[in-house]
Subunit: 221 residues, 2 copies
DNA sequence: ATTTTCTATAATGTCCAACATTTTGCAAAA
DNA sequence: TTTTGCAAAATGTTGGACATTATAGAAAAT
């Protein structure tokens, strides 16, 4: 294998390949609808036929790659319509998760949310002052962690998995917005403040409303 | 390859293996939490190392098999808690899909639903009069088609995919209920009649209520 | 009894080869 | 010029042999 990631974090070759390709799809190095020829991929990322196919199967199950019988793999398309669909589902899933967490979450949950909000604050600041690929990924990761934290007291592992999956599918679009300078950081800061209040006060309607705004902002409209 | 399915329907070897193993998991031949050793599986179902791993990856993405790094695959566990979680998500997804379909569906959609309801009626009758594995699968398939038909005007491919996935995860439990004679066919018949009325009248609250009962029945409580 | 070490088993990864399908390029026909 | 059909090339799919690495359970040592 040649490059793409550290063997220490990514246990197996397949995982290393998966995170490298996943990242390149996130950043648009591998473009939507692009055909993923096994030979080319092996050339770029290394790995055997076997490993690469397994890698693509994994990415297929994450929804960022699509497989067609006898016709190989391609990067999942990324149209305006796709974005709408992804965000529709993401919103519904995260809304439900948040509602369940609000009902069942204890102080530890609140703490996790507050911590995640803080991390997002820092990531927002960092990505504005030094915008490169590394900080962009860290920023996105912080946002993801917040979404996950909000659902973490839902008690539904499958709902949480789904949220993670659809967040992953929206990543490409989010990073594109960031790159194009179309993120409203002021609005994000406001929502964070309000979300923290709403959660600690357990005001479901208000918290859900903010979540709607937050995910709606990913539409970039 | 030895046996398990027809090459004509299942395009590739991997798909043939997948449907054979999927079916055996559905019927409990491969039991929850059972370790799936590649060598054993190849012995039983045929296929090469490569094909079998790819098959298991596919089943993993469907949620009926789980993979652990360096420790291979096992049949997804099937506890009471798993069932609750699956049905929670299934209900929410199908509810949303039904609501969207009710808003956007045209006459063609209504026709599909009516057709699917009819097919379920026939399947219910058949499985009661001649209960074997074949009719059981046909019955389950008819129920699945109805769920899919209800969502088919939602306009959200990802929501539909999710519904299909979670339906697949609940199949084992549904077939177990059927085997144990714990399906209330009279109640099902009533719900079908009411559902058809509610849908044609576009009464959302009533239709959603029936869906809740229908999926709730899968709890077997 | 607990911990450590060793070993058999199984998973993971690579290479190579054969075969099937799809796509492509080119020529012939309309 | 466009369309159609066919052959060649590219690509995907499957299989098998084998090397490497990790895990789990047995055996040994404390």
């Amino acid at each position: 294998m040649l490059f793409g990631g550290r063997k220490s974090e990514d246990d197996t070759v397949v995982e290393m390949l998966a995170s490298a390709i996943r990242r390149d799809i996130s950043f648009g190095v591998l473009r939507p609808d692009q055909k993923l020829k096994l030979a080319d991929l092996r050339q770029s990322y290394g790995g055997s036929n076997h490993s690469m196919r397994e890698t693509l199967r994994i990415l297929t199950s994450e929804g960022v790659v699509e497989a067609t019988n006898q016709r190989g793999f391609r990067v999942t398309s990324a149209t305006e319509e796709d974005l709408r669909d992804i965000l529709l589902v993401r919103l519904e899933v995260e809304k439900l998760g948040l509602k369940l967490s609000l009902k069942q979450g204890d102080v530890a949950w609140e703490s996790r949310v507050v911590a995640a909000l803080h991390a997002v604050r820092r990531a927002d600041a960092l990505v504005q002052e030094r915008p490169d690929d590394v900080t962009a990924l860290e920023w996105d990761e912080a946002c993801r962690d917040l979404s996950m934290a909000l659902m973490s007291a839902s008690g539904s592992p499958r709902l949480t998995d789904m949220a993670a999956q659809f967040y992953g599918q929206s990543r490409r679009f989010r990073l594109a917005l960031l790159r194009e300078g179309r993120i409203d950081f002021a609005a994000r800061a406001t929502r964070r403040t309000q979300l923290q209040e709403a959660i600690i006060a357990r005001e479901e309607a208000r918290a859900v409303g903010i979540l709607e705004d937050e995910i709606g902002a990913d539409l970039g409209a």
